[in-house]
């Protein structure tokens, strides 16, 4: 068992790194798209059918590509960006890109929960669109956004394990290589337990955070 402890520890850290970094990068890519979708939707403060439909189409198209295919498709791009298409680093690129449209939709949904009459009242106060985004949308929607982060993070965790089977690093790689190909059931079970623990930790942390920061409760 002992020689595997380091391996599992390393795998867990790699998985956490992959999920965290891809979460951050997908947020950087997806949040602005989600904001634009919200603003340009009919009834939004910068209503624009063409932009909303066009962007919505791109988001839907990207979401309909299965992750494992997207990963293969992106190999040349991934290599160009980070120099490699395998391992932990090579997995972060397709993970981020696959999660970005997901983030965009989740941001859109969270922002649309805000009462349009509230937005109207803020417009009537003379707020600029930028002030509305910064001081109203991203303040009022915080609890909802926090509740949605685990959904994305857990999806990324699942994808990262999948990527492990296709040359990525982390726990998925260990489960496949040591657990499956070497018939090491123990390793397989331990990786599963670690994955379950990670899911629980992510979900619980964000539930607590959302509850603490939601002033409506």
């Amino acid at each position: 068992m002992n020689p595997y402890i380091n391996l599992l520890l390393e795998g867990t850290l790699e998985t956490i790194l992959m999920v965290t970094l891809s979460l951050v990068i997908s947020a950087v890519l997806g949040v602005p798209v989600g904001v634009i979708l919200t603003l340009t939707k009919s009834g939004g403060i910068a209503e624009n059918k063409r932009i909303y439909k066009g962007l919505g189409w791109v988001v839907n198209m990207m979401r309909s590509i299965p992750f494992i295919i997207l990963m293969m498709l992106l190999i040349p791009f991934t290599r160009w960006i980070v120099g490699t298409s395998i391992g932990t680093i090579g997995t972060i690129v397709p993970l981020s890109i696959s999660a970005a449209p997901f983030v965009a939709r989740i941001v859109e949904t969270a922002l649309l929960e805000i009462n349009p009459q509230l937005i109207e009242s803020i417009v009537a106060m003379g707020a600029t669109p930028f002030q509305i985004i910064k001081k109203v949308y991203f303040v009022e929607a915080i609890p909802s956004l926090l509740r949605n982060i685990p959904i994305i993070a857990i999806a990324l965790l699942g994808y990262s394990a999948m990527a492990g089977a296709a040359g990525g690093g982390g726990l998925g790689d260990i489960a496949i290589r040591y657990g499956y190909y070497n018939y090491n059931t123990q390793i397989m079970i331990i990786t599963i337990i670690i994955l379950i623990a990670l899911v629980e930790i992510i979900q619980t942390t964000f539930n607590i955070l959302a509850k603490k920061l939601d002033k409506r409760l």
């Binding site: 009462n115 009459q117 509230l118 109207e120 009242s121 803020i122 417009v123 009537a124 106060m125 003379g126 707020a127 600029t128 002030q131 001081k135 109203v136 303040v139 009022e140 915080i142 609890p143 920061l213 939601d214 002033k215 409506r216 409760l217």
Partner: protein, 245 residues
């Protein structure tokens, strides 16, 4: 002074044109309290939205202190909005911000410095009788208290006009009286012109100087409350006054 001339606004509802405002003209004196009364769908809220620059009319004009709001670009409109406070139906408070932050909001977006905001918010909290509640969040307040916050927020930038959309529709009768009293107090202390849109006769009778009766987008009757309500001429006014006529 607010001068409204030949205001017309049509909405498309299910591809059918709906005439919300039909050739409305009126004059509202400075520092008066005017009630705009009518049934649901009479065009009251549309009129209020035009006055606050949220909706542009199809034709006609609104002059506020001599400036035409139709000719304004986005920037001018934003600066005008700081001179018009609006108390929206349903309070429309920021639920994730406390009382202080809610009242400070219009000042913050207008770019005032921290010290000024601090002092002004404390004045306003005193004005609306919410001292000690500054750090509470709206979810913990009663309807009357939320309406006080909404009024304080609307008054934050020292507007010359205060528009109130159904300010008491969600409040019980005791709280309604308190809010009415507060509006009169603000009208006198802060020298602000108040326009109240409502369907409740009692509010108009108790605090308004002038009344404008709207029905199906048209002005049916207008004048001093004492005249209009004691001697109503239009059918709709009689209907609104109910049993008394």
């Amino acid at each position: 002074m607010i001068k409204i001339t030949h205001l017309t606004k049509t909405y498309q509802v299910n591809n059918q044109p709906l005439l919300a405002l039909d050739n409305i003209s009126m004059l509202i004196e400075d520092k008066s309290i005017t009630g705009i009364i009518g049934m649901s769908g009479a065009g009251k809220s549309t009129l209020l939205r035009v006055l606050s620059g949220l909706v542009s009319p199809d034709s006609g004009g609104v002059l506020i202190d001599g400036m035409a709001i139709m000719d304004m670009d986005a920037k001018e409109l934003r600066s005008l909005r700081k001179r018009i406070g609006v108390v929206f139906q349903g309070y429309q408070l920021l639920m994730q911000k406390n009382v202080f932050k809610n009242i400070a909001f219009p000042l913050e977006i207008a770019g005032y410095d921290k010290e000024y905001i601090h002092n002004r918010v404390h004045q306003l909290v005193d004005l609306v009788g919410l001292s000690g509640k500054e750090l509470q969040y709206p979810a913990k307040l009663s309807g009357g208290q939320m309406q006080r916050v909404a009024i304080a927020r609307a008054m934050a930038t020292n507007p010359s006009i205060l528009l109130c959309d159904e300010p008491t529709s969600a409040l019980d009768s005791v709280t309604t009286k308190e809010i009415m009293k507060l509006l009169v107090e603000i009208n006198q202390k802060e020298n602000v012109t108040i326009i109240i849109v409502t369907h409740e006769v009692g509010i108009v009778r108790s605090i308004c100087h002038h009344v404008i009766v709207l029905d199906e987008g048209k002005i049916e009757e207008e004048g001093l409350v004492s005249n209009v309500f004691t001697n109503p001429k239009a059918q709709i006014t009689k209907l609104l006054l109910g049993k008394e006529y």
